[in-house]
């Protein structure tokens, strides 16, 4: 018995120029906010962009984008993601609604494979993937199944976050996966610990996103989100997307 879905995944993604995985070993660092804002910002520049929420047990990008509950994928030789705020947007929430999705590892893998196999993305310049925290099933499955992924790592200024993220980066480096760089989110001072530590690891420190109280009140309002410090910080990330991608750790 063979699972046929695996064979079609890279064909489904073939028309996507770049797949950016927004990831962090630690939760609560702002992955979803950065993934959604980056996607919106790239779309605002005129790129064709998809946003794929793979945080099945804690999806939140639909809330950030203010996606209406009536929005659903269209059935056409698979599932065509609806366009929301200029983004082709896919999430498990279309199928589970507001209900909890208590999924164990094998279920996470199966749901991820199903969505990768049946989602009919159009031709995209960028697919931004919002990941669950950690280096568990979703990360390992993406690495196993998708050829052309690049990682954007998010941390906070806290060493608690960075120590976990160091483990994630060690794993990605061991697997020789491309890392665009590290973003230090919600920064409230001028401490140089994270930039120094990141560079010491041989990785690109993209920059800091200063803590901005307006971010919380811009949830559900993409235009307002893009006007926050977080929105303006996307310029540095977009610049890094155009730069050399590191896959070496010291």
């Amino acid at each position: 018995m063979l699972d046929p879905r695996i064979s079609i995944i890279n064909e489904r993604l073939a028309k996507i120029k770049r797949i950016i995985v927004v990831s962090s070993g630690k939760g609560g660092v702002g992955k979803s906010m950065i993934a959604a804002t980056l996607a919106l910002s790239l779309a605002g520049d005129g790129y064709k962009v998809g946003l794929f929420d793979l945080d099945f047990t804690g999806p939140s990008t639909h809330i950030i984008l203010g996606v209406s509950k009536s929005v659903q994928p269209r059935e056409e030789k698979g599932l065509v993601p609806p366009v929301v705020n200029g983004l082709e947007f896919m999430s498990l929430v279309y199928f589970v609604g507001d209900n909890p999705a208590p999924l164990r590892g094998a279920d996470v893998s199966n749901a991820l494979i199903e969505l990768l196999a049946v989602t009919q993305w159009g031709a995209l310049d960028y697919l931004i993937i919002d990941m669950p925290p950690g280096i568990g099933d979703a990360v390992l499955d993406l690495v196993r199944l998708v050829k052309q992924i690049e990682f954007l790592i998010i941390t906070t200024p806290s060493l608690l976050a960075f120590e976990v993220i160091k483990k994630q980066m060690a794993l990605l480096c061991e697997l020789k996966l491309p890392i665009i760089g590290v973003v230090e989110n919600m920064k409230m001072d001028k401490a140089q610990v994270i930039p120094q530590e990141t560079r010491r690891l041989g990785l690109n420190y993209i920059g800091a996103v200063a803590f901005d109280q307006r971010v919380e009140s811009s949830i559900g309002n993409p235009a307002k989100l893009l006007s926050t410090t977080l929105g303006h910080s996307m310029n540095e990330i977009k610049k890094a997307l155009g730069g050399k991608v590191s896959c070496r750790c010291r």
Binding site: D3, S7, N99, L103, A117
Partner: protein, 132 residues
């Protein structure tokens, strides 16, 4: 049609196996569809018939059904999935992503949502026959 995407996956997968086994013609492909995903065999068969070409031009597609068994991880109860007990919206959600079942179904004995999809989840390629 969601079945169309699954049919494409079946053919891509069968093509890989045929190449690995140096089959020049595929005579028969056996597919098993689990009850949980509620794939309609006539729709899947139609999609396959519309897409078959090259080594699959004269292939016969056998589509077999499998019951879906769910097993509670808390109390050990095992039960059979029955989509007729669900409303249309829930049924459709599970059709698209079978793991959505965890958001809607609970163990009939202890009400836990922590169950294993023990069998009959989705579409599987069971056998392929051909000529080298």
């Amino acid at each position: 049609m969601h079945e169309w995407a699954l049919a494409e996956a079946v053919l891509a997968s069968a093509r890989q196996i045929a190449e690995q086994n140096q089959l020049k013609i595929v005579t028969e492909v056996t597919i098993r569809v689990g009850a949980l995903q509620q794939v309609e065999p006539p729709i899947l068969r139609f999609a396959l018939s519309q897409m078959k070409e090259g080594i699959f031009k004269n292939s016969k597609f056998r589509i077999l059904r499998a019951k879906s068994t769910l097993k509670c991880r808390i109390c050990g109860n095992t039960w059979e999935f029955n989509h007729k007990k669900l409303d249309k919206t829930t049924s459709e959600a599970i059709h698209f992503i079978p793991e959505a079942a965890h958001s809607y179904i609970k163990c009939p004995k202890c009400s836990s949502p922590d169950f294993e999809i023990a069998s009959g989840r989705g579409v599987w390629l069971e056998d392929i026959k051909g000529v080298q």
